[in-house]
């Protein structure tokens, strides 16, 4: 006999179905949705330091030269890759104030990525000031427009909780475009910082997360090392064309800026930071995040051990 469905049984069934869906969603979340696509950073560690010595040298040419010296961009970026770039464009300050990554450096790297056949290049930074103003004033917006890279607005829906598995951080909201990429390039600007003394490559990962990140300052060295370990960038390119030597990290005055015309490229986050610290006359071992980074095996603070090359333009 074909019995009609009573209201009671219909409700029961619907509850059953929705309950199953909800349960499966709960168990899957928050780690099911996001898959770390990036391969482990392997290969020999290297470091290239590029200096612009001539007057009116081209920053973009220096970027090219540094990558050439490292074996060419094709060594790192494969055809069809989605590349995420993490600059430091947190402060709505014009490029000459050295509060943000030099847009010419950004442009040079993006163009190289496209030359290597990258399918898509995304610029992603969770800014401190209003992102629209940061995009316009730091020049990242025009770089995106000129190169065709996608500048990702740090929308709250793009922050997803992920397992950091750090020594201090367990689960934290992460800016997803940095994780959903085949290759990740960290392009910080070298600056003074009131708490961590300097903000270089490792500290730049603060801009890769969301949530209550102001609280990370309570144990800054360990938390940023946790983040650096989590993000595992393919490359770190420290922009020291202009560095901020005082009043960091926001600066705001030309007197805070020193022109150093230097770029540091490495696949070792700790070593890159250690070398950059020298530009400020600070010893690498005095920086907590470098000591911790070395302790937890992210890299070495003794950059001389690496295959250090210098290029001069």
């Amino acid at each position: 006999m074909n019995e009609g469905i009573t209201r009671r049984s219909a409700i029961k069934r619907m509850l059953g179905i929705s309950g199953t869906v909800a349960f499966s969603a709960l168990t899957g979340w928050p780690f099911g949705g996001v898959v770390d696509l990036r391969a482990e950073n392997t290969g020999r560690r290297f470091m290239v330091e590029g200096r612009g010595r001539t007057r009116d040298y081209s920053v973009k040419a220096l970027v090219n030269k540094v990558f050439d010296e490292a074996g060419g961009i094709a060594r790192f970026i494969s055809r069809g890759d989605v590349v995420a770039i993490k600059p430091n464009i947190s402060w709505a300050r014009s490029p000459d104030l050295a509060a943000a990554t030099n847009p010419e450096v950004l442009e040079g790297v993006i163009e190289l990525c496209y030359e290597a056949g990258a399918k898509k290049v995304r610029i992603a930074d969770h800014t401190i000031h209003d992102a629209r103003r940061c995009f316009a004033i730091t020049g990242a917006g025009s770089v995106a427009k000129m190169t065709g890279a996608e500048l990702v607005f740090p929308r709250s829906s793009l922050m997803k909780e992920m397992k950091i598995n750090g020594h201090r951080l367990d689960v934290w909201p992460v800016f997803i475009p940095l994780v959903e990429a085949d290759k990740l390039i960290n392009i910080p600007v070298a600056k003074d910082h009131g708490l961590s003394t300097l903000t270089l490559g490792i500290k730049n990962w603060m801009g890769g997360v969301g949530g209550r990140r102001y609280a990370l300052h309570q144990d800054i060295h360990q938390t940023i090392v946790d983040l650096a370990q989590f993000f595992k960038p393919t490359l770190t390119l420290i922009d020291a064309t202009r560095i901020m030597v005082s009043n960091g990290p926001s600066g705001g005055s030309a007197s805070d800026v020193m022109v150093r015309d230097t770029l540091i490229l490495s696949n070792d986050q700790v070593a890159a930071d250690a070398l950059a610290a020298g530009l400020f006359g600070i010893k690498a071992e005095d920086l907590g995040f470098i000591r911790l980074g070395e302790k937890w095996g992210l890299g070495t603070s003794d950059f001389r051990k690496l295959n250090l090359k210098e290029v001069i333009l």
């Binding site: 629209r132 316009a136 427009k145 709250s156 997803k160 910082h193 009131g194 102001y214 609280a215 300052h217």
Partner: protein, 540 residues
């Protein structure tokens, strides 16, 4: 002209101006806002300014212009639009109400889609009533209040009211709903829904990139709903009974040459004209046409089946027009209210004695007394603010300053190089300023002070430099002293203790906004030290 054509011309014009109003409202934001397009210069000193004429409707609004003139003795920029409108009104009557006013259009639309009453009841509802004098009372109260130095025109002005309601209540309300959908979609485990979340890119420039919040916006929205609901009682209730701008234009339509001519012989008394009349202006033959009440919608012209009514341009004998029916009592009461409200508004002492510490005005704001003569409470600065820090006041500015803008630093902060609120302010209550002015003069809106009991390093609860890190001035207004503080476990902790340098602090509030102690942060900004007020300065 065929009346049918006139009706369609009116509808076209209404639709155009309503859409223009909404377009300009949405455009009241950072330029080059659409995520896909970043065409702004890289290194220039050029400020990020608003390009479109977002204040157009305020410049067109004679009530805004007149009240600013009477109150602040200031002719606002673009005032000649309003002069032009008054000239048009002199010749053609309240065409603004019928053809342009976006709030009037919304009322018209509601009354049209769902008429409040039917048949004979509508006819009797559309008879002129003494209540229509209320708007003259309100107009006179507003104008006398302006002369007395408190400009509350904007509370009732239709343009200000519509802008405030849509920008602070309707759009953020929809935006909050849209955002929840996006968050849900983005959090979903279905790939398809994840991708759909990118639709956010298209909607965010309209509804905002984050949850927009405005304190007590529910109240603004509620009043808007009530004003809309009034259409259920009488068609265009607001326009007939309450609108002070309508009253002003009514006075100016005294000598209109666009007249309703009636042919008594053809009239069959069907009342179709009265039934369709939006302004209760007595269109039927046998009654005198109230030109000051007529919204020039041409409905009666169109509705008359006998051709007994026609709008014609008649130059002769403009004096034969009917005088606006203001009523002596409305005038007297208006004067009384207009004089007493500003005086009552002074009694809290906010203007003459000490300001509320939470009354932090946008940068560039005039001294409090002058500010109140010009601010229309329209919400344009609140809409345009990229960090959502500018909110309407409730009690902070006293009764006279109800719904004027103030900064709530727990919601946002004043961006160091942002000038948008000064760019858009239609009346100059926030005087325009450049980035240079703001930094070099500098414009101070208040001062920060540290609550040592709450502060993490001061209370021995651990290191924290968030306020210093974010301080935008160079050199920073927040500096450290290294010291040893006893921690909770008795351990002596080496910490950096933050201090505020009042000479450098501009009161931007980013320290308060970013402080890890939420709700009542450990560093807070109060209005003391603001550069607009001589009395409220701290340092010599």
């Amino acid at each position: 002209l065929n009346p049918r054509h006139l009706i369609w011309i009116r509808r076209g014009s209404q639709a155009f101006f309503l859409l223009l109003f909404l377009f300009l409202l949405i455009e009241s934001r950072l330029p080059h806002d659409v995520i896909i397009d970043y065409s702004l210069a890289v290194t220039s000193d050029q400020d990020l300014a608003i390009e479109g004429p977002v204040g157009f409707f305020f410049q067109l609004d004679p009530l805004v212009v007149l009240s600013s003139l009477l109150s602040g003795h200031h002719l606002i920029k673009g005032f000649w639009w309003a002069i032009a409108l008054l000239l048009v009104t002199l010749f053609l009557g309240r065409v603004f109400c019928g053809f342009i006013c976006p709030l009037g259009t919304i009322h018209n639309l509601l009354s049209f889609v769902k008429p409040a009453l039917k048949g004979e009841r509508m006819v009797s509802a559309n008879q002129k009533s003494p209540g229509q004098r209320i708007k003259y009372f309100l107009l006179i109260a507003v104008l006398f209040g302006a002369v007395m130095g408190t400009n509350f025109a904007g509370l009732l002005d239709p343009i200000s009211m519509l802008f405030r309601s849509v920008a602070l209540a309707v759009m953020p309300g929809i935006g909050a709903g849209v955002r929840e959908v996006f968050e849900w979609m983005a959090g979903s485990n279905f790939k398809l829904l994840n991708l759909t979340a990118y639709a956010e890119v298209l909607l965010a420039p309209v509804f905002g990139y984050v949850y927009k919040t405005f304190q007590a916006a529910w109240f603004i929205g509620l009043i808007f709903l009530v004003v809309l609901f009034l259409n259920r009682i009488r068609p265009r209730f607001w326009c007939r009974f309450l609108c002070p701008l309508g009253a002003l234009l009514g006075l100016f339509s005294r000598f209109t040459i666009l007249k309703l001519e009636k042919d008594q012989d053809r009239c069959t008394g069907c009342n179709a004209c009265t039934r369709s009349c939006q302004g209760a202006a007595g269109p039927e033959p046998g009654k005198q046409w109230e030109n000051a009440e007529c919204l020039v919608c041409f409905n009666c012209f169109d509705a008359c089946p006998e051709g007994a009514l026609a709008f014609r341009l008649r130059l002769r004998s403009p004096r034969l027009n009917k005088k606006p029916d203001m009523g002596r009592r409305a005038v007297l009461a208006g004067i009384l209210a207009g004089v007493s409200i500003p005086l009552l508004g002074r009694l809290d002492g906010i203007v003459h004695k000490v300001s509320d510490p939470r009354l932090i005005r946008p940068p560039g704001s005039l001294p409090e007394g002058d500010f109140l003569t010009l601010c229309q409470r329209c919400g344009l600065c609140m809409k345009v603010c990229p960090t959502n820090v500018i909110n309407p006041t409730l009690a902070e500015a006293g009764m006279a300053g109800f719904w004027t803008p103030h900064l709530v630093m727990t919601q946002g902060y004043c961006e160091y190089t942002c000038t948008l609120c000064g760019d858009v302010c239609p009346t100059g209550a926030i005087a325009g300023f450049s980035v240079r002015d703001k930094i070099e003069r500098p414009i101070k809106i208040g001062s920060a002070y540290i609550d040592r009991g709450r502060c993490l390093p001061w209370s021995g609860n651990g290191p924290c430099i968030v306020c210093e890190e974010h301080c935008p001035t160079s050199p920073k207004a927040i500096y450290f002293k290294n010291d040893v503080v006893a921690g909770p476990d008795g351990a002596e902790n080496q910490v950096q203790l933050p201090f505020v340098d009042l000479k450098r602090c501009v009161g931007c509030g980013i320290c308060e906004f970013k402080c890890p102690v939420k709700g009542r942060p450990a560093i807070r900004v109060i209005s003391a030290g603001e550069s607009r007020s001589l009395e409220n300065r701290i340092l010599l």
